[in-house]
Amino acid sequence: MNLLEVKNLNTSFHIGVGTVQAVRGISFHVEQGESLGIVGESGSGKSVSMLSVMGLLPNYADIVADSIRFDGRELTKLSGKALRAMHGSEIGMIFQDPMTSLNPLFTVESQLTEPLRIHRHMDKRQARQRALELLRQVDIPNPEARLKQYPHELSGGLRQRVMIAIAIACGPKMIIADEPTTALDVTIQAQILELLQHLKQETQTSIIMITHDLGVIASMCSRILVMYGGTICEQGNARDIFYDPRHPYTWGLLNSIPKVQDAPAGKLIPIKGTPPDMLKPPAGCPFSPRCRYCMPVCRAYMPPTTELSDVHRVACHLMHPHAPKITREV
């Protein structure tokens, strides 16, 4: 069963000089207990699409979708109050920078018990008890002392654990993790990923993992969306994306991952060019200006989505039967 189903989501920001089309008509779903990875470079619309689903964008953002269904409810039709009742209880969110995501003026206890008191109507003592359990669950040593501390007294890794504890406090059905490890040291990254994976197995929560790091995706996610220029260019199971990628952008992403066996002689192959200007996105495929295999049709028309299997889908003109047959160069 699909826990979250998004159809034709468009998000744009009206700013002084024009309209930034950050997300352009994406559709996707998340199954119960599934972990979905969303990869793409900065500005590809991955974070914005998730914040749109949550309704957490500033009010100058314009969010239009045919449908956003979560757990049988249509979010586009819910009132602000009903949405807030879901935030932090049914959907938990973990953000990129644990240094700034916690309020510097409140203790860990205050911030961790807040969702419990709002959604579960716990009294102070019950909430404190649950907070201690949560801190133990996210492997924070000496939880009694930590509760009394302020964010600036904790390391980055500990803060991110506190953020995770806040996100799972009310036992959510889905967790959205927006680059949860990007701001952390590599060793801490691994610990946090391990923790998330462990929690997922324990609680059967669905996770949406937003990242630009394919390594993170490979270790966490069973299904992957690759986003570029506000659109989904390829999606499929992890196996499809890593072993049978079809979109030139996915090839580029995979080629830019360092491989241990190649070192030191192997060179990383960067994707040439810069991401599209979302104020004036290209009429055709957003990747066409940077694509080595670009054809005239690519610049003129948005590529249709080709279904290679039930889950593996590619939006690329190269999939057309008359297009030249190109295989990935590794």
Binding site: R84, H87, G88, L105, E114, H119, M163
Partner: protein, 308 residues
């Protein structure tokens, strides 16, 4: 915390010593004196010299300075040269007027300034924001003497709604408090608005929303508390400035407050009065700043009250 307070108090004592010394010698460096012949033309010079000698003013300045310290350490600010009574009596008699008016002005500034800034930030670019901006510009740029004259002309002379002077009824306080607080209101509103806008953009506000915190609590608890830290820093100088009285406002509305007597004592060369009020104001500023720093450390745990 206690060590910090003691340390700050000791630093305050040092500040006071420097203040007293500088004020004392600058005052004596001014041409003329309380009983100089150029000022008291109707009194024979010999009489003036006798009076001056009776106050010890014939002695060398350094000796007078040491005498002053001796009296000061005994809690005696001396006798006013030009008015009846001791300086201690004068200060304790007139300070309550300034403090009452100033205290009301502080309260009024905070109660109007913070909500104005908050509303301006929440309705950024809308009519409420522009109106606040206009008020803030007027409040910062119009000098208090112009404002007090204009307001008393309009409300007292023309409309005859409010009394022109005195403190006999609560109506008298209206113009006084408005005149004194317009500038602080403008400052506080602008400060609250800009720091509130900054706070609302912060990641922790987004976290609060992601937790399902109601919009009111997001604004009041998570954003406003952060936005008020610069206002708390401003609170020390504001309270010190308003409670010690404003010469312009007090003389315009004929209030027997300290601000008025301070300026009068300077034109009178009333040495003991000048020194007394300088010391009193100085102490007030030192204490208010310490209190606002402690308050800030209570609100913001990142502010460390350390010994360096």
């Amino acid at each position: 915390m206690l060590r910090y307070i003691i340390k700050r108090l000791l630093a305050g004592v040092l500040t006071m010593v420097v203040l007293i010394t500088v004020a004392f010698f600058m005052m004596h460096a001014m041409p003329g004196g309380p009983f100089s012949p150029s000022e008291e033309k109707n009194v024979p010079v010999e009489v003036l010299e006798r009076i001056a000698a009776s106050y010890g003013l014939d002695q060398p300045v350094w000796k007078q300075y040491l005498n002053y310290w001796n009296n000061l350490l005994h809690g005696d600010l001396g006798i006013s040269y030009k008015t009846v009574g001791t300086v201690n009596e004068k200060i304790s008699g007139h300070f309550p007027y300034s403090a009452r008016v100033g205290g009301l002005a502080v309260l009024f500034s905070l109660l109007i300034g913070i909500p104005l800034g908050l509303i301006a930030a929440l309705y950024r670019g809308k009519a409420a924001d522009l109106a606040t901006l206009a008020l803030a510009t007027v409040g910062i740029s119009v000098p208090v003497f112009v404002l007090s004259l204009l307001l008393s002309y309009l409300f007292s002379s023309k409309l005859n709604w409010l009394p022109t002077y005195g403190l006999d009824s609560w109506l008298c306080y209206i113009l006084l408090v408005v005149c004194l607080s317009l500038n602080p209101i403008a400052y506080i509103a602008r400060q609250t608005r800009s720091s509130m806008l900054e706070a609302l953009e912060q990641d922790y506000v987004r976290t609060a929303r992601a937790k399902g915190v109601s919009e009111l609590m997001v604004v009041v608890k998570h954003a406003l508390k952060n936005a008020l830290t610069p206002v708390i820093t401003y609170l020390g100088p504001l309270i010190a400035g308003l409670l010690t009285g404003s010469f312009v406002v007090e003389s315009r509305f004929a209030i027997p407050g300290l601000g008025y007597y301070f300026v009068r004592s300077i034109s009178d060369r009333d040495y003991t009065m000048i020194m007394g009020i300088v010391i009193f104001f100085g102490l007030f500023v030192v204490i208010c700043n310490l209190v606002s720093d402690i308050l800030l450390a209570i609100v913001d745990p990142r502010v460390k009250l350390t010994n360096d």
